[in-house]
């Protein structure tokens, strides 16, 4: 019988610890698929964050390093500078990448470190139980914004793709979502491109993936996916924000 669907080889057999309805599983699969399709598993090293994906090192079958909170791009810089022929990726959430690790994010981008950054934006700190994130929407209720994010005291959400695309350094900056089949297919292409760019020595490539957290949003998985369409995507428009090679090719 022909195999029509199988688990990517770049994922281990470890059962994922993520909550039911969480989109991390989809994103792990898309990353593993890109690694498989490019045939780079044997030379790939991943960097896991602090946050919900902290145990990503158990799920990817390539070599893995667990970084301190927010420091994954600095750790990835060290890895890449030491092993330029290897493929280095980080997998980070919004608190990790856009709050505590903002300096590492901006500076690895402006240095055009030849690394791939997978940025999962679900607008909340999931692992610690649902606190306000740098990307939580105005008015969003979280454990630490129980009356809704008040922009007068908590400020506004950070749009990472828009911010990074002002820099001359990075090669590729794109925002995708994983809330429906069409968007998942777009996400698959963007993630693969972000790895391909590194293989071709093009430089810093970041894919922001707008995703859901049904547990901490207090919604059913289906309502959470709808909430992405109705609330997240209007604030975080999908698209390619920077693609230097495409521009040069014009």
């Amino acid at each position: 019988m022909a195999i029509v669907f199988e688990k990517p080889k770049s994922l281990t057999d470890a059962p994922l610890h993520y909550c039911p309805g969480c989109t991390h599983g989809i994103i792990h699969r898309l990353v593993a698929q890109a690694i498989d399709e490019l045939g780079i598993e044997g030379r790939t090293i991943g960097v896991a964050p602090v946050g919900c994906a902290v145990m990503a090192y158990n799920y990817f079958s390539c070599d893995m390093v667990e970084a301190a909170h927010g420091r994954a791009p600095a750790v990835a810089t060290g890895l890449k500078r030491s092993l330029p022929e290897n493929i280095i990726f980080t997998y980070q959430g919004d608190g990790d990448l856009a709050s505590i690790g903002m300096a590492e994010t901006v500076h690895s981008a402006t240095r055009n470190e030849n690394i791939t950054v997978i940025f999962v934006n679900n607008a909340i700190y999931g692992m610690t139980g649902g606190q306000m994130a740098p990307t939580s929407l105005p008015g969003q209720i979280t454990q630490t914004s129980p009356y809704g994010r008040d922009v007068k005291t908590a400020g506004y959400p950070i749009r990472i793709c828009e911010l990074l695309s002002t820099l001359d350094g990075p090669e590729y900056i794109a925002r995708v979502a994983v809330n429906n089949v069409k968007n998942v297919n777009q996400a698959r292409k963007a993630i693969k491109k972000a790895f391909e760019n590194q293989v071709n020595n093009k430089g810093f490539s970041l894919v922001e993936i707008v995703s859901s957290c049904p547990t901490n949003w207090g919604m059913t998985p289906i309502d959470a996916l709808k909430w992405i369409d109705e609330n997240m995507i209007p604030y975080y428009p999908l698209g390619v924000y920077k693609d230097r090679s495409a521009k040069e090719g014009e």
């Binding site: 902290v54 667990e66 600095a74 750790v75 890895l79 500078r81 500076h107």
Partner: protein, 354 residues
């Protein structure tokens, strides 16, 4: 024998590190260790595979060190006191993941922003952990430009051997002074590091560099195993120098620049008929406990000479089991005790019956 060259202490560390096979340097500007980074910036691009990177912060720099250390290559960062405080998170992770690396602290006065003059007030931070969790660094304290070079090479070897971070704890004087130095001409032998992440090449199970253990029994086990290794370090790697200690009645303990000042004071004391001697710890972790304990059997007082408000004195009191008085002769905030000040302390300890 290699030719002697005149070098600044900071530069001697940099050149010795390169000769020890360290081709990756990450740093952030801070006085008084700037010459080290400047030397690396000049040299590294001229060496095949050499990497110099000025990081966006001390925090980023130490995490870049963590990244390179994960690949099994020799790597270092350098800074001065306030910058080393920023590195503590990363140092704890490096220790927790059992990675070898070298951190250089060319100390300046504190706390806070402090000053830019020499100090030894990071002794506690260096020897007692510094960051969170149970761990140690191998801490080496040079007292000459020659030792800046020699101990740099040794630090890399020990870090690799015991899979733990090492610190070269110098001070502003050692960093800035120029002395003739002989540098090693042959590269050291590198040990195998099968734990390193280098890509599986599809030939082995994936390696994971990590310090997270959510099962407390497992985390406890890693702590106990690490401390078994530390016990080996304490058994095998204590280094110190004794001067006129055989018949000493007054024992001065000092490291780094304080040891050089103290040696002059001991010479003066001997001239005046006072039986003084000096113990100069070269490793302050592991601390030369046995040498101190032995001194406590034949000396009537031990004087700790420090450029701090008295930190090493606690280790001396512990090692001597308080059998004799342990007193402090110190300056702080960037000041250095004079030989006269140390001599006066020796004289006072000797009392009338010299």
């Amino acid at each position: 024998m290699a030719e002697k060259v005149l070098m600044k202490g900071n530069e001697a560390i940099a050149e010795a590190a390169i000769r020890a096979g360290c081709l990756h340097y990450f740093g952030y500007p801070i006085t008084p260790q700037t010459e080290l980074a400047a030397y690396m910036a000049k040299r590294m691009p001229k060496i095949e595979g050499g990497v110099f990177l000025q990081a966006e912060s001390e925090i980023a720099a130490i995490n870049m060190v963590y990244g390179v250390a994960s690949t099994g290559k020799r790597v270092m960062t350098s800074s001065s006191s306030p910058g080393v405080s920023l590195k503590q998170e990363g140092i704890s992770y490096i220790a927790g993941a059992d990675l070898p690396a070298l951190i250089v602290n060319v100390q300046r006065g504190g706390p806070g922003l402090g000053g830019i003059q020499p100090s030894q007030s990071d002794y506690f931070q260096a020897t007692k952990g510094g960051g969170h969790g149970d761990y140690h660094l191998i801490v080496l304290t040079p007292a000459s430009v020659q030792e800046m070079a020699d101990l740099t090479g040794l630090a890399f070897d020990l870090a690799d051997k015991y899979r733990m971070p090492a610190m070269l704890l110098a001070d502003g004087t050692m960093g800035q002074m120029m002395e003739p130095v002989e540098l090693p001409e042959t590269a050291p032998e590198m040990i195998e590091k099968p734990w390193a992440v280098t890509g599986t090449k599809m030939q082995r199970k994936h390696n994971i560099i990590n310090s997270l253990y959510l099962v407390p029994e497992e985390l406890e086990k890693t702590n106990f195993e690490r401390y078994e290794r530390y016990a080996q370090v304490e058994k095998n790697e204590v280094r110190y120098e004794e001067y006129m200690m055989d018949d000493a009645e007054i024992c001065v303990v000092a490291f780094g620049i304080a040891a050089r000042v103290s040696r002059n004071a001991v010479v003066e004391a001997r001239k005046q008929g006072i039986k003084a001697g000096l113990i100069r710890p070269i490793t302050i972790w592991p601390f030369p406990k046995e040498a101190i304990a032995k001194a406590a059997t034949h000396c009537k007082e031990i004087i700790s000479v420090e450029l701090s408000m008295g930190q090493m004195i606690e280790d001396i009191a512990l090692a001597s089991e308080c059998r004799v008085p342990v007193t402090l002769c110190n300056r702080a905030g960037g000041m250095i005790p004079s030989p006269d000040q140390v001599f006066d302390s020796i004289k006072k300890a000797a009392g009338g019956n010299k």
